[in-house]
């Protein structure tokens, strides 16, 4: 496993250099390559969900390299364009490839950020003594009493609209669930026999946490990351459709679907391709999560 992951660590940064990605983009290749590599290494054979997931991932990663035109290039006539032009005259096929990558960058980076915040806060909260549990429970309740969409709207009021803002907002709305799950799981694991044995050996609580408990939480964290990835994609597309997500003109799957619905009578292929990409991602992710959850007895 480790032998397999090492070259991936080397390849991931070079992929970042290869692709014209802005700052949050560099989070995508390492996160997804690691996920994929780890998933392949830990499973016997590649299941259906993983095959679809892998192909879509490659498309998101390398799609822009095969795009015939830039996402903002404007044309006068639609002749010779595979999916035609949008209302402004931009090539829809190229915009689909760029939009696919953008949506994935935003969703993956947002989920990665949410997972990171969730791990940190869940870890800290679970190490607080029992007296603190009631306080943290109420804190979570307060945070969850405001719907996630309202956090987005509040965030859009305060921050400049853009890809980075979307990533930050997706991150700060997706962490509480993981933190709660981790809190419950750490509480359970701290009472396990191996933790007791470690305590008997004279290890400190912090050392037990890092060397004994954290390795037992990786499956839960990965499963949660994948669930958040699916919900982040849906959230990003919905907000972009409403005009509240990525800035106007930025290609994304939500915008592609909106364009597809607008031209559904004359060019249904645009909508069909957009919705297939979307369904491909979400269904394969869900299938993979279910398999993964059953295999590792998480969720």
């Amino acid at each position: 496993m480790k032998r397999f992951l090492f070259p991936v660590f080397l390849i991931a940064p070079s992929l970042c250099l290869l692709l014209p990605l802005s700052w949050p983009g560099f989070l995508l290749p390492p996160v997804l390559v690691l996920l994929l590599a780890w998933a392949v290494a830990s499973r016997g054979g590649p299941p259906f969900g993983l095959v679809v997931l892998g192909s879509l991932f490659v498309l998101a990663l390398c799609g822009t390299l095969i795009a015939p035109y830039g996402p903002h290039q404007v044309f006068a006539s639609g002749e010779g364009h595979l999916l035609g032009l949008d209302v402004v005259g931009r090539d829809l096929y190229s915009r689909m490839l760029y939009g696919h990558r953008n949506t994935m960058v935003i969703a993956a980076a947002g989920s990665a950020l949410g997972t990171l915040i969730g791990i940190c806060s869940g870890g800290v909260i679970s190490l607080v003594e029992r007296r603190g549990l009631r306080v943290t429970k109420i804190m979570f309740q307060v945070y969850l009493s405001v719907p996630p969409l309202l956090y987005f709207l509040l965030g859009l009021c305060f921050l400049k609209p853009g890809i980075s803002t979307m990533i930050i907002l997706l991150g700060i709305t997706s962490w509480p669930e993981l933190a709660r799950l981790l809190q419950a799981q750490v509480g359970y694991l701290r009472k396990a026999d191996f933790a007791l044995a470690a305590r008997m050996r004279g290890m400190s609580e912090w050392r037990i946490f890092f060397s004994e408990i954290i390795p037992n939480l990786t499956h839960l964290v990965w499963a949660h990351f994948l669930i958040t990835l699916a919900s982040s994609m849906i959230m990003e597309s919905s907000l972009t459709y409403l005009g509240l997500g990525s800035p106007l003109g930025t290609p994304s799957l939500g915008r592609l679907l909106a364009d597809g619905i607008q031209h559904i009578e004359e060019r249904p292929s645009v909508f069909l391709i957009g919705i297939s990409l979307f369904l491909g991602w979400i269904i394969s992710l869900r299938a993979f999560i279910r398999r993964y959850g059953r295999a590792h007895e998480v969720l």
């Binding site: 109420i138 307060v142 719907p147 509040l154 849906i234 409403l242 679907l257 919705i275 979307f278």
Partner: protein
């Protein structure tokens, strides 16, 4: 009985505590990120005296703590400040929109329950193998679709192409002066497309949840015992299984109904439903902070008791399902 009353009283008190904390959290968030929100609206060319006068009118003439105490007192009496855009008290602005959102939320929830009940009952009976297969295929597809896709397809086909239902607003322009039944019929016609756009994904979520629970019930002792006594599968389904999962339905009501009333922003915006979502999006676009705060508090006031109720029922259910 006294235990139940005490439990509900404790729930009420806890909800109040959480609501107070939510108000404090939102107020602090606004104070940290924006300072005094009225400064965004005051023209810098105005004289300092005039600026002070405007701050006094809108209640922004004091420091953060004093404003917080005043705001808390106002919230307790139902006052949520004055909206910058509408130049009216937030409560009055909200009152006109909340009714429409409540109607759409409850209507779509009712539709979702009917659809879910119909699907569950028919797919669990013999004689509908196709429906069962169809629902098995359709459930994951609909669960994976973003909320706006169904709404957009409904607008394109049922609204524009076939012109079966109206696609915009809460009622026709010329409905004033007609009888109240005609007005209600008009509202119902306008609610069909948004209602189904919300209800279909929701009912699918319910079906997925209940199917899982029904599967778990197959191994329950009371089901095995009923089967052993020769009770028919139909009777086991209606008299034993459905009765057992009914409390979880109330739990779902507590979780989903408030969330739907607050969270159908996307569908409401697409159908031009002048409810809560229109206010929310307008408030965001125009940086109307008092209205945004009011909307958030209203959402929290609706969600907190719902979550508390769901938690309470889950705890009760946990006691009842000790056989698992």
């Amino acid at each position: 009985m006294a235990r139940k009353i005490r439990a509900f009283f404790a729930l009420f008190l806890h909800s109040l505590l959480v609501l107070w904390l939510v108000v404090t959290f939102l107020f602090c968030l606004l104070a940290v990120l924006r300072g005094n929100p009225i400064s965004l609206y005051l023209d810098p060319r105005l004289t300092p005296e005039l600026q002070d006068k405007l701050k006094l009118i809108y209640g922004y003439d004091a420091g953060h703590f004093e404003r917080y105490v005043r705001y808390l007192g106002n919230v307790a009496t139902g006052e949520l400040g004055v909206s910058f855009v509408h130049s009216k008290p937030v409560t009055r602005v909200l009152r006109s929109a909340i009714g429409r959102s409540l109607w759409l939320g409850s209507f779509s929830f009712f539709l979702a329950v009917v659809l879910c009940g119909g699907l569950l009952v028919t797919s669990n009976q013999r004689g509908f193998p196709l429906l069962k297969r169809f629902s098995r295929f359709l459930v994951p597809v609909i669960l994976s679709l973003p909320a706006f896709t169904l709404a957009a397809l409904a607008i394109s086909f049922l609204g524009v192409r076939f012109d079966w239902f109206p696609i915009y607003g809460t009622g026709s322009l010329f409905r004033d002066g007609t009888s109240s039944w005609a007005q209600f019929g008009d509202l119902l016609r306008h609610s069909i497309l948004p209602g189904f756009s919300i209800a279909i994904p929701l009912s699918v979520q319910f079906v997925a949840y209940f199917e899982q629970r029904l599967e778990n019930l197959d191994e329950a002792p009371f089901v095995i015992s009923a089967r052993g006594r020769g009770v028919s599968e139909r009777r086991i389904f209606f008299n034993h299984k459905l009765r057992t999962i009914f409390p979880s339905f109330i739990q779902l009501c507590g979780l989903y109904l408030p969330a739907i009333i607050c969270g159908v922003v996307i569908v409401e915006a697409m159908f031009g439903w002048s409810g809560f979502s229109a206010l929310l999006i307008d408030a965001t676009m125009a940086r109307d902070y008092p209205l945004l705060m009011g909307c958030s508090i209203w959402c929290a006031a609706l969600l907190i008791p719902g979550y508390e109720l769901a938690d309470y029922i889950r705890a009760r259910l946990g006691e009842g399902e000790s056989w698992q």
